[in-house]
Each structure stands twice: as structure tokens, then as C-alpha cells.
């Protein structure tokens, strides 16, 4: 146990309210979880279990301690836990296939190990898993509950909707799962999954049972519930039927979990060639220009140690690696799922990596959504970066996405961070390629136009021309 160090002003996390047994708060220093009497009793029992201590030691569950004293003025809870802070929260619709698969395997490993020790888990939402660098970590401690003989694993449906079906869509149909998870925070419904994984895909491993059968059963019982609802008229004298009783033996639960583990382990993403999937070898720079660019970035990022760096348009992470050497944490963002998957696969084998990959179209960043538009925070409303890298990104924003240069720079300025930016002018071959089939309405994408646009927002600390003057690197600080 430790003493609370917060100043008492607990700010409730807007995404933590579904389970009334606990709620997460942030006091600016610590992540604190208020727990009910029942959840506190569970925590005390759980903390004494060797399987749970092993999970903590292995870093598979977020470091957690019980706080000794209640935190005034919020004393509505029976007890308080403090958690290690996740450096930057990401959501499943921002993860690559490998990330979602590793998160799924962690969820299954936890529930299996818990089950062997006489515990269960009361949900299986992908939002309970976060990343410290490229390592998945389970964050929702009150999910662990004592196992009651005969109970099924109640998280099965949620696991299918938020892990299994999205992975199957990518593996069996080559369909990106991220738009589905972003569109519906509950995940992919069994009926939708059954329609999408139809035809010969039904014969692929796990589809007939976990998808087709699941959808059929859901439709069947939804139909009987509808019939019951229709029969419950005011004068019918009928009562709502009781919950269906169904005994699940331990072997049934364990067998299902282990079967899911084998299934998820076998899923592989369909191979698709993308523009930047092999950026580290396919980029357009000569060796000297590439070295110049790397040296400029290294000088800028090593000028001070920064807590959080965003590498926007990171491709396969060449420059994220440079940032990682001089910063506490690097969030590497790119719209190309294959590039992010490559970065993740390279990073996950490195012990203690501080690079967290994320997939996002920067012209359409993750919005605030869920209840009241706040349950899942917008990308730029989570944690403020200290430095933002925008290398060879601006021509994609301005030309490909038709975002005005001034609008993009204003967004960058609102982040209130230092910026390292590579300007790609209209004279650059990559800009010419993007302009090949469209009208040139991007006159501001010149050195003079860019410097005029930033003059009221940023001060230029240093700059260096690149690729014969067709590109230019800038280190900027907000004014």
C-alpha cells in the first residue's frame, strides 16, 4: 500500500462508467480507481493469488497498488487503487492486425490462467487492453471475479465481437477491421459477421461455430424475446420469463478458451502490397539526402529530453527510432496499416521499447465518440505531445486530402508543441506524382508560401534544404 499523492481533485475518466463497481479518476499525478465494497473484497483476494502476482511481475497486468487512505473529498468508494499511467491511450480501431491479435491472445491467456486459479473475468472488451510501448497490458483489474461453478465465460460474446470477428475479417476476407471497430464501439455483431463471412468462408476454421452458429442462435433467441415482448400486454397477466439457466462445466469453459487460443494463433493477415509498407528500403531519397534528414532530426530531438513525441506519418518508423533514443515515449502514427504492422512486429521483440504504433488517417483523426461524444477521446484530446514530427507528410495533407495548408498548420499550432516538419514543395517528384491527375490549386506549397503561413504561429529554430532544394526541413517552436 502507498499513500495517496494527489491533491484531492479527482477528474473522472469519461470512458469509465459502465461497470458501477468501480470508476477511474486522474488527479494529474496518478491514475486512481475507486472501488465498491464488493470490488475491494475481490481485489484483496486477488492480490493474494500467486497467478495474479505472476501476471503483475510479467507486466501483463498494469502495475496496481491499494491506496492506504481515502482521497478527500471523493469518499464515495469503499477503497482506492492506484495504477501505473499508460503513456498514451490508443483504441482498437487504431491497432494493426498483429496488435489486435496479441491483445486477443493476452485476454485469452489471462482468463485461462485466472480460471485455473478459481477466478473468472466478467468481460472481454478490447478497450481493457492498452499498450506500454509495443507491449500489451491489461488495465481493468475489477474484471477479475471469483469463478462460480457452473457459470459460462460471460465475456465470450464481447470477445467474438471485439477481437475474433475483426481478426477473421482481415485474415479470411482481406477486409480492414479498423473502420468496423471505429463505427461501432461494441464491435462486429454476430449477425453482421455471419453476413460478411459468408459463402466458402464459412468453411474456414472457426467460422461455422463461432460465427454462423452464434448468429443463428442470436437470431433465434432474439425472435423468441420479440414474441415474449408482444405477449406482455397490460391485460395479459403474463410475467417476464426468468433468465435461462444453463450449466457450463469447467472443461467446457476451459476447452472453449483453449480452442479460441488455437484459432486466434493461426489467424494471419491477408497479404496486400501498400505504398509505404517497405518505406525503409523504397523511399525516394538518395543516400546523402537521407543521412542529412536523419542528422537534422537527431539534432532537433536530442536538444532536450521530451516526455512524449508524436511521429505523424511515421511509415515503418525509421525516425521514430531516432526519437525513441532521446525521448521517454514515442507515438508513431501512419494511415498505412501494413507499415504500422511492420513497425509493430519489429518493435514487439525489443525489450522495453518506448515506441507505440497506431493506425490513423491524419486527414480524419479518431473523433471523440461513444456516450456524450466523450467515452473514447479524440486523438488530439488525449495527451499533449512535447514534440511533433511531420516528415514528408504535408504534401499528402495538402494535395491528396485537399486540406488547406493554413488549416493544417493551425491544427499543429493548437497542439502547442515543438514541430519538426519536412516541407515537400510542388517541385518535388512526389508532389508532381500527386498532381498528375488533378488541377494544381496548391500554390502555397512553396518555401516562401510556407514560411509566410507559419510566421504568426511558429518561430524557426533551424532549417536545412533537402533534395536539391525541392524539400526543406524545419525545427519550429510555437510563438
Amino acid at each position: 500500500m502507498t499513500d495517496a499523492v494527489g491533491d484531492g481533485s479527482l477528474i473522472p475518466d469519461r470512458g469509465s462508467f459502465r461497470d458501477r463497481n468501480n470508476r477511474v479518476y486522474d488527479d494529474g499525478k496518478q491514475i486512481i480507481r475507486g472501488v465498491s465494497a464488493e470490488a475491494l473484497a475481490n481485489w484483496r483476494a486477488l492480490a493474494s493469488e500467486s497467478f495474479f502476482q505472476e501476471l503483475l511481475d510479467e507486466g501483463k497486468v498494469v502495475a496496481t497498488e491499494q491506496l492506504e487512505r481515502p482521497i478527500a473529498p471523493t469518499d464515495e468508494w469503499a477503497g482506492y487503487l492506484s495504477h501505473e499511467r499508460i503513456p498514451f491511450v490508443t483504441y482498437p480501431y487504431e491497432w494493426s492486425f498483429g496488435m489486435l491479435r496479441d491483445a486477443a491472445l493476452l485476454q485469452l491467456e489471462l482468463v485461462e490462467r485466472a480460471f485455473h486459479a478459481g477466478w473468472s473475468m466478467k468481460d472481454a472488451t478490447a478497450y481493457n487492453i492498452q499498450w506500454i510501448g509495443s507491449r500489451p497490458v491489461f488495465i481493468d483489474i475489477p474484471s477479475f471475479t471469483p469463478y462460480r461453478a457452473g457459470e459460462p465465460w460471460v465475456g465470450y460474446r464481447q470477445f467474438c465481437m471485439q477481437f475474433l470477428y475483426p481478426l477473421m475479417l482481415q485474415a479470411y476476407k482481406g477486409v480492414d477491421f479498423q473502420p468496423f471497430l471505429r463505427a461501432d464501439l461494441e464491435g462486429v455483431d454476430p449477425l453482421l459477421a455471419s453476413r460478411l463471412l459468408s459463402g466458402s468462408t464459412r468453411l474456414r476454421k472457426g467460422v461455422l461455430t463461432h460465427v454462423y452458429l452464434h448468429a443463428k442462435m442470436q437470431a433465434r433467441y432474439a425472435g423468441s424475446e420479440l414474441d415474449e415482448a408482444k405477449s406482455l400486454t397490460e391485460n395479459s397477466g403474463k410475467q417476464v420469463s426468468k433468465s435461462r439457466k444453463m450449466h457450463h462445466s469447467e472443461a467446457m469453459v476451459l476447452g472453449t478458451i483453449q480452442g479460441l487460443k488455437r484459432l486466434v494463433n493461426r489467424l494471419q493477415p491477408a497479404q496486400v502490397r501498400t505504398t509505404w509498407g517497405s518505406y525503409d528500403t523504397d523511399h525516394s531519397y538518395g543516400d546523402a539526402s537521407f543521412e542529412t534528414k536523419k542528422s537534422f532530426v537527431e539534432r532537433a530531438v536530442s536538444s532536450a529530453r521530451r516526455h512524449l513525441v508524436w511521429d505523424l506519418g511515421c511509415n515503418t518508423g525509421t525516425f521514430s527510432e531516432i526519437c525513441a533514443r532521446h525521448s521517454d515515449y514515442v507515438l508513431s502514427v501512419d494511415g498505412d496499416a501494413k507499415a504500422i504492422e511492420r513497425l509493430y512486429q519489429a518493435q514487439k521483440t525489443k525489450v522495453g521499447t518506448n515506441i507505440c504504433p497506431a493506425i490513423m488517417n491524419l486527414a480524419n483523426i479518431s473523433p471523440g465518440q461513444g456516450w456524450n461524444g466523450e467515452e473514447r477521446k479524440a486523438f488530439d484530446r488525449r495527451s499533449r505531445p512535447n514534440l511533433v514530427l511531420c516528415l514528408a507528410l504535408i504534401h499528402h495533407i495538402v494535395i491528396s486530402a485537399n486540406i488547406p495548408l493554413g488549416a493544417f498548420l493551425s491544427w499543429l499550432r493548437k497542439l502547442d508543441s515543438e514541430v519538426v516538419l519536412e516541407l515537400v514543395t510542388l517541385d518535388d517528384d512526389m508532389s508532381k506524382m500527386l498532381l498528375r491527375n488533378r488541377e494544381n490549386q496548391y500554390g502555397e506549397l512553396t518555401e516562401a508560401g510556407f514560411e509566410a503561413a507559419i510566421s504568426k504561429m511558429f518561430r524557426i529554430v533551424s532549417s536545412e534544404p533537402l533534395k536539391g532544394g525541392h524539400r526543406k526541413l524545419y525545427h519550429l517552436v510555437p510563438v
Binding site: R18, D19, R20, N21, K122, D123, R148, A149, G150, E151, P152, W153, V154, G155, Y156, R157, Q158, C160, P190, T209, H210, L213, H214, K216, M217, Q218, A219, R220, Y221, A222, E225, S243, R244, K245, M246, H247, H248, S249, A251, M252, V253, L254, G255, T256, Q258, G259
Partner: protein, 68 residues
């Protein structure tokens, strides 16, 4: 006999007591699905368990190991 009928028979066979209460609704259809999948998975799990036990019986023991 279609898949649903087979499923319902299995559900009938394994149904007894115990409710599942959680803050999320596991969904009746999903619980029935886990019962059907679990029925077969349990059979496979039990077979695997006894298979590995049987394999262990025939494994040569290290010298000095007098345990049964």
C-alpha cells in the same frame, strides 16, 4: 437433423443450474452457443488431458527417480 436441432439437444443435455450475472448481458444466444461449442471443446479437452497422462506413463523416467 439441422445444426439448430443438434444444438438444442446438446443444450438440453448440459442445462442444469447456475445463472450468469454480469454488468454486460452475455446474450442468451451467445450462452447457448458457448454451451454447444463448450460441449465439444470439453470432450476434446478431456481427451487431450488423458492422452498426455497416458503419454507420461510411457515416458522413460530419469535415473534415480523412484516416484510413481
Amino acid at each position: 437433423m439441422n445444426v439448430q436441432k443438434i444444438g438444442l439437444i446438446i443444450v438440453f443435455l448440459v442445462s442444469a443450474t447456475s445463472n450468469a450475472y454480469a454488468y454486460i448481458d452475455p446474450g442468451t444466444g451467445s450462452v447457448v452457443t458457448t454451451a454447444i461449442i463448450g460441449f465439444f471443446a470439453a470432450a476434446a479437452y478431456t481427451c487431450r488431458k488423458y492422452f498426455y497422462k497416458a503419454v507420461d506413463l510411457f515416458k522413460p523416467r530419469a535415473k534415480g527417480d523412484k516416484s510413481n
